[in-house]
């Protein structure tokens, strides 16, 4: 094995131009894939407030339909309030609104905030990291207390650094007292992200309580040992029993799906909602392999023409008794070493690109990072790439006829 590795490095150093081209191809391909993987990890990975994805079921969309018209959108408060409470197998459940952009004027500056109305349980289903203060509880929701939890960056924009709990800010004509400050949530985490969180009941009218389709979402934290499918089925049964007090509509539909499925259908493809994670992962893998196809073809072509250059070496090895298997192995190892070098290069480049992305502010509060999960994917992708681009050339190499190869005849 050591001699194979040594040989591989020697071969790579012999033709610098080819090594450079191959390294460039591998590093660039893996760079794009790693950046995508870091972004996907940022969206799907168990981090931030949504740290228990396997135990979280969410209800995002709802639709009511009749013969002539249909209305679809986010779930309505009325629908969720009739279906979520006291669900068997569920430890806690929360109803919270979709973010709304609100603008306020603070000391002559215009400040735009994403606000999210939530109940008190929201803070137990999703776990935020509090820098100071504490969340508001269910009493704030029932009594409509004018309180708010703000993110770190929002605190800085309103009050500057320093303690903010107890201070008040004006938002949409209401004065809110800050009770807690949390670490920023990236905007890509669209379920929990906001700049300011405040109690739902702090609305000017309570008309939202009747809506079946509206601008709310629900989340359930499963009790230990509960089966997600059973809870989904029970949710579906409850949805079927919700009365529709409107002659225009006949059917109401909404699903409780896993966090992963719901997020995937939101970002990647609509229609994936409710599909098992394996299908979604399969789709992502297919996309990655399609993207790798062109660089892999490029590398295969390069490798194929390089084999001919090494024909006499192969001829000598074959006439001294090397088996086809040994030659295939040697060539594959060479290719994987190359891919590994490219992968290492790609990791460094990825870190640089991600840091630049974070600084650019293209995605608010994004903190893309290379963690072990992403690097694991990187190693896996590197291996796949090395093998995919190496198998065909290796096979062709092993089939060269020794006599012909020694004489310089190739076909």
């Amino acid at each position: 094995m050591r001699s194979t590795l040594k040989l591989a490095l020697k071969v790579l150093l012999r033709r610098k131009f080819f090594t450079f081209v191959s390294l460039f191809a591998v590093a660039f391909t893996l760079l794009v894939l790693l950046v995508s993987a870091a972004m996907l990890d940022h969206i799907f990975g168990p981090q931030g407030p949504e740290d228990r994805p396997d135990r979280t079921l969410v209800v995002l969309k709802a639709e009511i339909a009749g013969e002539q018209s249909r209305r679809n959108g986010w779930a309505g408060y009325g629908l969720l309030a009739r279906t979520l409470p006291e669900m068997p197998g569920v430890e806690r459940s929360t109803i919270f609104a979709v973010v709304r952009k609100l603008t306020t004027y603070h000391e002559g500056r215009k400040i735009t905030c994403f606000t999210r109305r939530t109940d008190g349980e929201f803070w137990n289903v999703f776990r935020f990291q509090f820098l100071e203060g504490a969340p508001y509880g269910q009493d704030a929701e029932t009594q409509a207390l004018p309180v708010a939890v703000v993110s770190e960056s929002t605190r800085d924009r309103f009050f500057g650094p320093g303690r903010a709990v107890g201070k008040t800010l004006e938002l949409d004509g209401r004065r809110l007292r800050v009770v807690g400050v949390v670490r920023n949530v990236p905007s890509i985490r669209f379920l929990t992200f906001a700049d300011v969180w405040l109690p739902t009941s702090l609305s000017r009218s309570d008309a939202y309580k009747k809506d079946l389709v509206g601008d709310f979402a629900g989340a359930m934290l499963l009790a230990a040992g509960a089966n997600a499918d059973d809870v989904s089925a029970e949710f579906a049964r409850r949805v079927a029993n919700v009365p529709i007090n409107d002659d225009r509509f006949k059917t109401l539909s909404a699903h409780a799906s896993t966090l992963f499925g719901a997020v995937a259908s939101f970002f990647v493809f609509e229609g994936l909602e409710g599909k098992p994670p394996a299908v979604i992962l399969g789709v992502l893998w297919l996309m990655a392999i399609l993207f790798m196809a062109l660089p892999a073809l490029n590398l295969i072509n390069l490798n194929l023409s390089r084999i001919l250059e090494r024909a006499s070496e192969i001829g000598v090895r074959k006439s001294f008794g090397a088996t086809s298997g040994a030659l295939v192995r040697q060539f594959l190892v060479e290719n994987i070493v190359l891919a590994g070098l490219g992968g290492a290069l790609a990791s460094v480049l990825t870190a640089i690109v991600l840091a630049a992305l974070n600084r650019s502010g293209l995605i608010p509060h994004a903190s893309f990072a290379l963690n072990f999960r992403v690097l694991g994917w990187g190693v896996l992708l590197t291996l796949v790439f090395g093998i995919v681009s190496g198998v065909l050339p290796a096979w062709r190499m092993s089939r060269l006829h020794p006599v012909g190869a020694l004489q310089g005849r190739f076909e």
Binding site: G173, N298, L308
Partner: protein
């Protein structure tokens, strides 16, 4: 000559096949990027139909999806808001519009006219919205107070929709097809505007219809979802704050969100351009990679054929001739790959897979992609083919 080159290529069909696939794949990548670039470029060049400078949109929301309990009152209040706004110093004009330019939501309608489906976007608008948005009327007039008393609802449509509905822009006073029967309330065209591309410069052209919204009218909805306001050039945030304060004092049950159109426009622009830019950069690197790979392949190929090329030199072929042969072989393979790619791509307009893509864009993109792939192939072949000119016939013949 070409027949001979074809024979040479056929002899090495196995390695050439993979090269062919690679070049075809590169062609498809360039084609995809070119289609997007041409598509947005052609949209960008069309007239916009409105003026976004020094204009704000103010979204009104009342925290319910079902609508208000008291539409009569809402209508009067909305009309008062407009009067109050126009009294604010620094505001030139104000009007109500349901979907202001660049906002994310749109109302889309389908009507069946003479067996064809005509699709158009629509929005309510009040008296004066044409002045605020700078719409250009080409026939008839914008809404006025006299529309209030009519039993029908006045609408203003753009030139494209007039052509789709009636086949002519001389259609002022005619009813909108389909609204006269079945007891639906009738809509009548009162004016034609040149164009209104609500989704901005990058969006595809579409038909547009404004219907009349007024507190006094006997038909239609009472208020619009949003207001548009033309302000004096160089207005500051202080004016925004003052306006929101005044609006909130008048209608405490509503929320108001001021967005200058300029800001909405740049947001929309970057939402479209950022993915396109990323795609373009990735494609560019892919092509660079393919180009470098091709250099390697051709180089290796030439090095291996030193004897053959040397023999041709010994038999009297010129340096230029050899150089040309190497390049011609490369171009031949590229041409075959481009043929395959074009055959694939031509299916798009034939089968109307994407009917929003006009065939001119598809063919233009195919041409662009062909030109760039050929350019890359030629550029990649230059250095290896130059090497062949250094082959000395006598040495080459002894070479093994």
């Amino acid at each position: 000559m070409i027949r001979h080159l074809l024979k040479l290529a056929w002899h090495r069909k196995r390695s050439n096949a993979l090269l062919l696939v690679e070049i075809t794949a590169s062609f498809l990548v360039v084609f995809a990027v070119a289609v997007l670039a041409l598509y947005f470029g052609s949209n960008w060049r069309r007239p916009l139909g409105f003026d976004w400078k020094d204009t704000w949109s103010i979204l009104i929301s009342d925290e319910t999806m079902e609508g208000s309990q008291d539409p009569e009152n809402d209508a009067r209040l909305a009309a008062r808001l407009l009067d109050e706004l126009e009294a604010v110093p620094g505001i030139v004009a104000a009007a109500g519009v349901d979907s202001p330019p660049y906002v994310e939501w749109t109302n889309t309608n389908n009507l069946k006219v003479d067996g064809r489906i005509v699709e158009f976007m629509s929005s309510g608008a009040t008296v004066g919205a044409d002045r605020v948005l700078g719409l250009k009327l080409i026939a008839g007039r914008w809404f006025t107070g006299e529309d209030d008393a009519q039993p029908w609802q006045g609408v203003v449509i753009d030139r494209d929709l007039a052509n789709d509905f009636f086949g002519t822009v001389q259609c002022v006073g005619r009813p909108v097809p389909g609204t006269t029967n079945e007891g639906e309330h009738e809509q009548r065209v009162v004016g034609i505007i040149e164009e209104f591309r609500k989704n901005g410069e990058l969006a595809p052209p579409g038909n547009f219809l404004f219907w009349h919204v007024s507190a006094e009218a006997r038909t239609g909805p009472a208020r619009t979802n949003a207001l548009v306001v033309r302000v004096a050039p160089g207005s500051s945030v202080a004016l925004e704050e003052a306006v929101v304060g005044r609006l909130r004092a008048l209608a405490p049950q509503w929320s108001f969100d001021i967005r200058p159109l300029e800001q909405l426009r740049s947001t929309r622009f970057w939402m479209v351009c950022t993915p396109l830019l990323v795609l373009g950069i990735v494609a560019e690197f892919l092509l660079l990679m393919v180009g470098l790979g091709l250099i390697g392949v051709v180089w290796q190929n030439v090095a291996r054929r030193t004897r053959e090329l040397g023999l041709r030199r010994a038999m009297g072929a010129t340096r230029l001739g050899i150089c040309r042969q190497v390049l011609a072989e490369l171009v031949l393979i590229s041409a075959m790959a481009l043929l395959v790619g074009t055959v694939l791509v031509v299916q798009i307009p034939l089968f109307e897979v994407f009917d929003i893509l006009p065939s001119t864009i598809v063919f233009g993109a195919a041409l662009l992609a062909m030109a760039s792939v050929l350019a890359i192939a030629l550029a990649a072949g230059l250095y290896p083919s130059w090497i062949t000119t250094r082959i000395h016939p006598a040495e080459a013949l002894r070479h093994d």
